[in-house]
Amino acid sequence: MSNQTSLVELQPAIFVKLTADSALMAIATGVFDFGAVPVNQPFPYITLGDDTEGPMNAFGTRGYDATVTLHIWDNTPNFKRCKTILAHMNRLLDQQVLTLATQHHVGTWYDFSRTMNDPGLDTIRHMPVRYRFETQEQ
């Protein structure tokens, strides 16, 4: 029986997909839950968080329409490395198969990204990247 939310399945599946890719991991130093980044973790790295979810039901079957926002963090003077990481993430996730623990993965769509200079010392480059996922229980 499938889980009754996609969110508990999406995050580990995304984590596995990203961390298994040697090209991405040659640039990013890690992928972490939003609140679990080790102290003094070297840049650049990716954090997972900021999920949304709504129903996409059919009669007799529950489905889910979810978004997951990943965050790329860097400390270089520009966004070049962030954009390179974004390209790898799109290669791995956008319109690609994602293996979920129990649910059927309908599709993944790249939805949004932006570059942000975090306030303060202006030394941190931050790029939130949002993907949309559709899944069904099976």
Partner: protein, 132 residues
């Protein structure tokens, strides 16, 4: 009291048609006008009167296109191209049923690069509907 629609089913025989998200059952009664000069059947002069004639129904079902639903959507697809009448059992609440034979007059597979593949079927009732 209102009831939730999520127990609703549309079946072919014992098999639910999968991945359907909306369906309706818009029965329609044709009428013949019986308005007569000087009124008819006691109706006031200046008003129209009718009698019911032929009962019919054409409905649309829509949802996720599912070619792998071999006992549901695939049957509708096969019957559409084979010009074969299909017997359907519709239940708005999972208990009461409306059983009717229908021709599949429209089969529309819809794809949008930004979303999932969707499907619409239009069913034209052929003959009577059995209520239970």
């Amino acid at each position: 009291m209102a009831i939730a629609a999520y127990p609703a089913t549309l079946k072919i025989g014992a098999n639910s048609i999968l991945d359907i998200q909306t369906h309706d059952l818009p029965f329609k009664m044709d009428t013949a006008e019986t308005t007569a000069f000087s009124g008819s059947g006691g109706a006031p002069i200046g008003t129209k009167t009718f009698i019911p004639t032929l009962l019919g129904m054409q409905c649309k079902i829509a949802g996720n296109w599912n070619k792998a639903d071999t006992n549901g959507q695939a049957v509708l697809e096969t019957n559409f191209f084979a010009r074969t009448k299909t017997t359907l059992i519709y239940s708005p609440n999972g208990t009461n049923t409306y059983t009717f034979g229908a021709w599949i007059t429209d089969y529309n597979i819809k794809t949008d690069v930004k979303s999932k593949a969707d499907v619409d079927f239009v069913l034209l009732m052929d003959g009577n509907c059995t209520l239970a």
